[in-house]
Symmetry: C2
Subunit: 415 residues, 2 copies
């Protein structure tokens, strides 16, 4: 069985929002062994939506569709799907109660256009939406050649769509799949994509099950090792020797983390080793701390962070020496070191990390160009400073510096 | 002329990465009046890529394609496009020098598979990639019915794709478009999507040029007002009365910001009014500061931030009273207030903002459930505390709290 993801919304075609729904749904389907061959986005236009449904059902067994379940005039996804399968729309009393209850939190009256959210294609299995007014639904209908097609219609907002997909659509689809697909990720730092692939080209050439696929991300290459088998245990067994071989070849530049996120690896290492950490950030401005704090349970390790954007903050809060700032400047190895040490000392933690740089677009000079960032990790009375020259826009420079300093923490704890 | 965006990469179909490229390209095309009717994603599979090119050229005049220009075996986009237009692949000496120069930064030898990056479909206009080894290209070819089709092939990594799109593809396409599309965004807080739409339903019903389109985002609704005309000035003129009417109806709940981002609005207001700000964050853990600091030139306003995750940090750094924490707890109105005041006092700023809450997934209780966040803004010796109960995953709760506290800053400065 293979699936297609169809996201509906003119705001996607205008580039007003980024399509995180396609990513989330793809990932969840991959976990239960359902291949996604296409993702499509179409606007709130009846003809093009019909065309998109036609195409999707012609090449996929399962279509997961997001958007267009809201109360407004351009929310027509259910109607278009009902027309496609020649089904009438029927009123659902439970959904009426649900919509009424949701709206009563905000206002007393019941806007007439909300009635749209109480009608569904006949025969649909209706899914309760705990986080919004738009209930979702699943249809399983006979299509051309007598084959069954499954279609799930989900609301567009990710915080409503994600729990519906995870808790209701996935369990439903699981019954149609008897294979498990399971993947693990190896992150490789400090080696370019083509260089890294070349080092394991013989493995990629001879791959079957598991497969090895590289993809480059900001400052790293991720190898996804994916196995198909009758159980997750069997998949893990198939992956193990491949993983060991990758570690043998990439050495300390490689590490394993399921999410592919270095902050999760750092959080795991901190908690496992009962280490505490504090951050002192200038150009990254809270990004290092924010990424670490996205890890649930991090409060045992993360104690305090400082965003020392001005020189006064560096001096008063982190005790960076005035002479250091005057002699070397705020963006320097010396300032980075004093910031990292200062963070650890002030917060009383085992580890202190710092970033200071020029994120741009202005503020660069021939000696200190935009993209120059010094990062430092202080740990066990030792420190490690690195100089980075990142290319790209302001936030790309900040992200690159964030990823690099987190990886430096990882390698210092691991080695 | 209309366009289709075709993103190539199995990592997108697996959900390993989110497709920010489609958003960026859509936005840039919209700005020069080129409509995007479809976005598609397909994996690194020759047959499905050919099928996707066929389909895209059958329904669009312009196809902007990303991914598959790298040096690895599965990078076959140029070959597939050459086959589609029946063109041979020709060697480009400039690209060879470019690839050689890029790789010499990392390593001495020249991996054989990099030669892939020096061949292009015959007749292509080759675009220099300043940020990576993969040069891009544009083809303009006669297709069925003698119509010309334009196709741009761009690399997948956003930091390479974005400057190529903006600096080379857009100027090229502009010559084929004699209309300007220009949009402005009005953000509406504190009113739900259907409620907000209802308040301006008569305007939406009678819209022509400009159009008004709503879309809901975390904690807000954005109305995009879009006009088409022969110049940007003319568009602005068309938009003005519509915008004024929206402000008249939504009052203080509405504000205008081109990016649709509240942090940009706050940054603008701070700089315009020469105000300084400091942040004290618990559950948002640097997200408030990080979003503000993404604004270029913010250093005049943003002085210092504190991520007071532990109670000790709240007491030692922000001078929150121990009794307050004991009596009301870290997640309370009282603590939020003392944090905001503390941040402003310690950093010596005009404004202090704070967040303290339970982002989850653990740590909730019947009285203080997961999703409960107190936010506070201290400004001109006054403070404003609000209690939020956000639903969703850990990072959704954090984002919601971040957006809310930034909006609170906005409304306190504006009013």
């Amino acid at each position: 069985m293979n699936a297609e993801i169809l996201c509906i919304g003119t705001e996607l075609l205008h580039g007003d929002i980024v399509n995180t729904n396609a990513q989330f749904i793809s990932k969840k389907l991959a976990e239960i062994g359902i291949d996604v061959h296409f993702q499509s986005v179409v606007g709130d236009n009846p003809n093009r939506m019909t065309e998109a449904f036609n195409l999707a059902f012609s090449r996929a067994d399962i279509v997961i569709c997001t958007g267009g379940l809201g109360p407004t005039k351009d929310d027509i996804t259910k109607d278009i799907l009902a027309q496609y399968f020649k089904l009438e729309m029927v009123y659902d009393e439970n959904s009426f109660q649900h919509v009424k209850e949701m709206y009563s939190r905000f206002r007393k009256d019941f806007p007439e256009n909300n009635m749209r959210q109480t009608y569904f294609p006949k025969g649909a299995k209706i899914l309760d939406n705990k986080y919004g007014s738009a209930n979702a639904c699943i249809l399983r209908e006979k299509a051309d050649e007598g084959k069954y097609k499954i279609c799930a219609l989900l609301p567009g907002p990710p915080k409503e769509m994600e729990p519906l997909m995870e808790q209701q659509v996935i369990p439903y689809l699981k019954e149609f799949s008897n294979e498990v697909v399971y993947g693990e990720k190896i992150v490789v730092m400090n080696i370019g994509e083509s260089g890294a692939e070349e080092m394991i080209m013989d493995l990629i050439d001879n791959q079957a099950n598991p497969t090895i696929a590289p993809y480059a991300s900001t400052g790293k290459v991720i190898f996804r090792i994916t196995a198909k088998a009758e159980s997750k245990e069997k998949c893990i067994e198939l992956i193990k020797p491949v993983k060991e071989e990758l570690f043998r070849r990439f050495g300390k530049n490689a590490y394993e983390i399921q999410s592919g996120k270095v902050e999760d690896k750092v959080a795991e290492l901190l908690l496992k080793n009962s280490l505490t950490i504090a951050t002192a950030e200038s150009c990254t401005g809270g990004m290092v701390a924010s990424r670490l704090i996205s890890y649930p349970g991090i409060s045992k390790a993360f104690k305090e962070g400082f965003i020392a954007y001005s020189n006064e903050a560096k001096i008063n809060t982190l005790h960076v020496k005035k002479e250091t700032l005057n002699k070397y400047g705020a963006v320097s190895e010396e300032t980075a070191r004093e910031m990292a040490v200062g963070a650890a000392k002030v917060a009383g933690t085992d580890i202190g990390v710092s970033t200071t740089g020029i994120a741009g677009p202005d503020g660069g000079s021939p000696e200190k160009p935009v993209g120059l960032v010094y990062i430092c990790v202080y740990y066990k009375n030792e420190y490690n400073v690195q100089k980075i020259i990142a290319t790209g826009a302001r936030d790309t420079v900040r992200e690159r510096a964030t990823t690099s300093v987190l990886d430096l923490v990882r390698s210092m704890i691991e080695n």
